[in-house]
Symmetry: C2
Subunit: 189 residues, 2 copies
DNA sequence: CAAACCCGGTAGACACTGTCTACTTCCGAT
DNA sequence: ATCGGAAGTAGACAGTGTCTACCGGGTTTG
């Protein structure tokens, strides 16, 4: 395996195990077994390396979500529930990677997992929402955007501890179901 | 004004103007006109100073929200719309402060804007939700939690650019309205 | 009244960071 | 066979957070 690939791999490993704090250029280089100057031959700057690591995270999340969204022929609502579960699970079991992925101060502003990852994911979401909702409402893109934001907010605030404290629940399931019911309409419409 | 207060003030100014990156201990000390060792007499560590600055941000947000939520006798739904607008406006016009407030890696884990700020805010939100919703549903705490998460997610993702790109809208108003309608039920219930 | 003490602050050392700049080494093309 | 550039090393540089030694004055204490 080339040095470039190993740098990314080490970074992914490091951020999932020890969080964003540990992602210093020199530490990644050390663990990859190269000098601190070597990464510069593959990534012009520290941010570029972090962006590559985050991109790997986006690819991982995308893979899990598309896999979940595409499997079987279950009704769209069930798929959305599974998709939301995957999103939350990713955020809560890999908090370091999740944080990195949305830390725009660490990432190149045009790196962007955005066009290559967010938009496809958003397309899947929009499609499922269109088919799953049981009452009329705003444009599907708006509903899908609001729902995605809801998922993301739950992941963020739950990881932060606020929601556990405020709602008294001990997992985020009820919040996820409440969000889906809210944005899609009653279950048996 | 004492040195301690000036350090916090300078920090608030700096983060709102130049973002979290600029909040180094030494830079804050420089702008406050003291040596880099001085802050240590008031804050045992850099994180403690940042926590104090974030606390100021929470106080500011709380003040705006409670002011908005309490004014006049308009119906609860209108207040919630105004409250959401304040939250989004705060996040989008002070992105640096908003980011700092939710960067748990920079803040002491028990600093916590949590008990002193989030919970009161959450109480207000729960109360308004209880009175504003037009259909039955989960416990008010759960609805309020999901709605707060939705607000927070919209603020986060909008600031990140994803939602503007995905929904095609050019402000977050439609998303806010969609979230409120979703969690509270149809407007004229 | 003098002496001890601590509070608020300075200045410098230390290890660490990201970036930059030589300096090697080595392989492939002319 | 030679040249050139890619890949990697090593060191310098400014900047960071923390730690320690030091200093000046009040206040308390003997």
């Amino acid at each position: 395996m080339g040095v470039r690939a190993r740098l990314i791999e080490v970074g992914v490993d490091l951020v999932t195990r020890e969080g964003t704090q540990s992602l210093t250029l020199r530490e990644i280089a050390r663990r990859a077994g190269v000098s601190h100057g070597a990464p510069r031959h593959y990534f012009p700057t520290h941010m570029a390396l972090l962006s590559a690591i985050a991109r790997q995270g986006f690819a991982d999340l995308t893979a899990r979500v598309t896999e979940t969204a595409g499997e079987g022929l279950a009704d769209p609502r069930a798929r959305l529930l599974a998709l939301g579960g995957v999103y939350l699970d990713f955020a809560l079991t890999n908090p370091g990677m999740f944080e990195l992925m949305f830390r725009h101060d660490l990432l190149e502003s045009d790196h962007l997992g955005l066009r290559e990852v967010s938009l496809p994911l958003f397309g899947i979401l929009t499609d499922l929402v269109t088919r799953a909702r049981t009452r009329p409402g705003p444009a599907p893109q708006v509903v899908a955007g609001a729902l995605w934001a809801n998922l993301h907010g739950i992941a963020q605030l739950w990881g932060w501890g606020s929601l556990r404290l405020a709602t008294g629940a001990d997992d985020a399931g009820p919040l996820l179901r409440a969000a889906l019911d809210a944005h899609l309409g009653p279950e048996n419409g």
